[in-house]
Symmetry: C3
Amino acid sequence: MSISDGFLHPDRLFPPEPALRNIARDLYATVRDLPIVSPHGHTDPAWFADDEPFEDAASLLVTPDHYLFRMLHSAGVPHAALGLPRLDGTAPQVDGRAIWRVFAEHYHIFAGTPSRLWVDHAMSAVLGCPEPLTPANADGLYDHIGEQLGRPEFRPRALFSRFGMETIATTEGALDPLDHHRKLLADGWIGRVRTTYRPDAVTDPEAPGFAENLQCLGEITDTDTASWDGMIEAHRRRRAFFREHGATATDHGAPSAQTADLPLPEKQRLLDMALKGALTPTEAELFRGQMLTEMAGLSAEDGMTMQIHAGSRRSTDRALLSTYGPNMGADIPARADWVGGLDALLNRHGHASGLRIILFTLDESTYARELAPMAGHWPCLLIGPPWWFHDSPNGIRRYLDQVVETAGFANLAGFNDDTRALLSIPARHDVWRREVCGFLARMTAEHRMDGAEAEKIATELCYGLAKRAYRL
Amino acid sequence: MSISDGFLHPDRLFPPEPALRNIARDLYATVRDLPIVSPHGHTDPAWFADDEPFEDAASLLVTPDHYLFRMLHSAGVPHAALGLPRLDGTAPQVDGRAIWRVFAEHYHIFAGTPSRLWVDHAMSAVLGCPEPLTPANADGLYDHIGEQLGRPEFRPRALFSRFGMETIATTEGALDPLDHHRKLLADGWIGRVRTTYRPDAVTDPEAPGFAENLQCLGEITDTDTASWDGMIEAHRRRRAFFREHGATATDHGAPSAQTADLPLPEKQRLLDMALKGALTPTEAELFRGQMLTEMAGLSAEDGMTMQIHAGSRRSTDRALLSTYGPNMGADIPARADWVGGLDALLNRHGHASGLRIILFTLDESTYARELAPMAGHWPCLLIGPPWWFHDSPNGIRRYLDQVVETAGFANLAGFNDDTRALLSIPARHDVWRREVCGFLARMTAEHRMDGAEAEKIATELCYGLAKRAYRL
Amino acid sequence: MSISDGFLHPDRLFPPEPALRNIARDLYATVRDLPIVSPHGHTDPAWFADDEPFEDAASLLVTPDHYLFRMLHSAGVPHAALGLPRLDGTAPQVDGRAIWRVFAEHYHIFAGTPSRLWVDHAMSAVLGCPEPLTPANADGLYDHIGEQLGRPEFRPRALFSRFGMETIATTEGALDPLDHHRKLLADGWIGRVRTTYRPDAVTDPEAPGFAENLQCLGEITDTDTASWDGMIEAHRRRRAFFREHGATATDHGAPSAQTADLPLPEKQRLLDMALKGALTPTEAELFRGQMLTEMAGLSAEDGMTMQIHAGSRRSTDRALLSTYGPNMGADIPARADWVGGLDALLNRHGHASGLRIILFTLDESTYARELAPMAGHWPCLLIGPPWWFHDSPNGIRRYLDQVVETAGFANLAGFNDDTRALLSIPARHDVWRREVCGFLARMTAEHRMDGAEAEKIATELCYGLAKRAYRL
């Protein structure tokens, strides 16, 4: 990365013990400037397609970040004070500066959290703020950031280059027309930016508008999605369309890792019922599980890497959901059963040549108990990096501590930042790189590997593994 | 705390790495003499009301402490050898000195456990013993402690002052007449000592004598507890009575975190059945769950902080239960489901203004997966400190490691000692303070916060958070 | 151990912080040469009975080790390339050197895993290889090892002595004729080598050939195994036969820790159905659970230590199972419920005098939540060392971190290596000893115990506890 540390300490996150710190520093020197590969995330493709300047500090850093507004909410800040838009289309009139001041007043509650690291990094290393945010300097920093954002080097494509990014994947629903990616294709930017096939709206019968979604999928792919085979064919075609726009991967969010492998008549029966909205919750789970198995089958055919993000209970705060909609910070992890859940899928497709499936968990108790032993056996399985609440310094330490001994390094998928916040991308990769170096420093200092091996593995973890996992 | 270290090493529990140890020492200097706030525990209010001297070392330190006699039992020491009273009223005649000798002979089995730290601290820092207990010095130390206990400065109120305590809460059942607290009120000691409203005997239909208990509650509150609304009114009045005796909090023990939000006719039906003793286990769970929701509603009304201690399987050794009764060391934690369990309660009352609920878990796998994300969203939720078996140096380390990054510090409830053992109170708070300083020392040494911020947070964790969590 | 470090660093695995490392080194000096007690494992008794030389590096180190071939498989190496025999009796013709080369080409994938430590140790400290395996030196090392294996000091009995082994237990099924142990008895080697009673094939009604197995058990014990009491008597007699061949323990593998305590008619009904192969999966679980309780009853009678290894989902890759059979690396841990599971057994036999039961888990979330509190109460329970995937440096750290504070050291069963790989035995005990010293070094440096206490506990953990746990 060609960005400086600014007000951040150059040794941040390294182990403080001198012997370890020195090794970590040396390792970090070999990985800090590797290109950023960001194979999974939720940035807005319009940024890269249109390359318009960002507006202000609040709308850039605060209001799109559910890590931030969930904590502000827990501290008693009403969503209205942040001007967040409601489902009914109304939004309180709060100007950016007022939002920024509220954020500054509460910035201390982020002490010890990764949000603090990411925001500090964005403000310091990217936006050139001279010191961390406080209530006293809020106005000044707001103005400073506003000025910066008006300059050409803060437009999205310039940031892409400045961050040393090699490629970034966005995530679009199966029905998305990919207009922005079409423009990126025309501009020769596909490859640097890619889409990812995320079909939840047409694979989850409990998704809003499921029947209409599926009909729409049939129309745009010229298939009959009321028949099971037709529906699978529709996915096959739509995946090809996504691949034309750079996609090398699919992504699947599910409340659990449950999969199924049913006979065709039973699948058709489930589809019939799903289209009528007549599935029980258990049948809906079965439908989703069958669709995961189907998607693995298609990945075995077309070579797209399959990502499974399972185990979040979505929208547990129903008043919030009805007023503000989903993704407002009330999604909470649940226990996961990966061994039982993936049984059907793996026994159907687990030996398919070239199949690659990356598993992301929110239940850390499955790292050592389930994911590492599974990835240490099945050739198709890779363990994704720590996800969501666990993408933090201590979260990364627990992850490496618990997966490496049983899965080795080669069964990991490297890092991905999974973010909506463009400016946090270098920060997140930097945290991963520092933690990787800290982990390997201890391995080296304990004489479990030598320095040359640690360097190779660090490079793999920060660059090579992600490229191979996603076929980039 | 105005008590010395005695034979304890002044650097105990601090990280041994010199750079970390120095930071931890400095932080500890700022918190070691903060007043002790003990907002939840099980000390005997008679001690403070009557201020009588304690009897001897065995009855003070050994026989009331189930942490100790459970381990002695696991090592083959029969309960009879400790003179523990049986349910039938008989108790083997064992004099204090004999019990003390048995304890001394087995004291080595506590190596590495927090009991060892607490007992060593009580003997050294409080009772002035010159060295740790051994079989060889058991008699001498028994005599020494006996002499000390006869002196006025070892009476309960003197210890309260000497320990630097600002306030302590005891825990009484809803039907308790609070005689001791009435005396404390007359003596001007309410505020220093408080009660806590623990209504399990009238909220758990599987509690012994449930129907009689509920009738008794009706009588003392002049309500009809055979009707649902009357029963709730009875709680409302009884809570007010407890508040007159210093209570700012309620406490609820439950095998699981299951809650419910049923319509009134269903609630009345459950109550009718409960009074007849005719609930199935599932219905009993539902009744308990509904009562948790009702209690949250009352807390939203009257401002009492609600504590939920969930997840212990009580009395798993049934022979022990039938001979010695409950609380004999055979309560073992179970898996918990906080997200699913609290769903009904939170969606009913989770946004009530001023509501405060503190969650205590015995399932550490829920720290990062459930409790931290929940507390990081819901304004009413705070995470209680490590509880029971996890209130230990390594237990505290795992807790801070797993909750802070996702919940921040402001969503924690500080520390409480939850003890029956008066003399262990300074030891337990001291362990917490040392561990907090160790944790923050590493955060500082890794440049995740600066020294001034660490000092503020240490003070919060050791004093401020507990006061605000319990409105003290 | 009288074996040198070879190319291994003498400080491997010790904490790198100088203060901790020095303490760890001193502690290690007191335990490194203690005799090896190996009370549970799966070495081949024919080795010790026949004392024949091993063949070559591949058949000695690679092909019998499912830790190795599972990882090779996950990296895409087909089982055929390792010459692994199929269920149908065929085996691809691959010579040892070719297998060894494949292993060498992939040896880098074991970086960070315990397999790497074990293989490096065997090659260096035992086989005298001058450097770690690489593709470049594969042929040379293959030849070197081949030469070594031809020398008398590399025969099994010589290795037994050279490793400083005091005793090793193998594991045999209840129907095994114990021919090798009979020879060992004749040679005066029983005591050094022992068998262990593993009756799964006659206690699990879902085991292949269950009815025939049970009939066979009846024949060799002259009992009627179609009646419940007769079947129990058959076990009683067979256990006595095993004790004549050195057994002091039994071992039980089960998918879960579920136990039962049923009335005799219900037990007989289950047995009748089991012999007909007519049990439902739930009833089969009940049968297995009842048999665990029966085995505890027999242990209470005859003093054999009972080992329960629960929580593995066996053969999750069914294509692999049908081609290669079980134990091919696709056994994956599952969540465990020890508290609920053992309830029936413990409430039946938990207070039996002299009963000793060692629990082994693959669900680390049960260490602190269930196993440590249970062992800290029940006199009969001991916690077994980290098992299978968790028998690694970090796995041992998590184990000690999570069990010691609640169970103390005296409720642990010391170490056992549980291996099929003779040459890994010194390596595995050495890893345990180093980790124990590292753990106690930190306890000492944090002033939670003094050096003399740490030395005693280290000796217990590396020697004394295992001897007492298994009555050796």
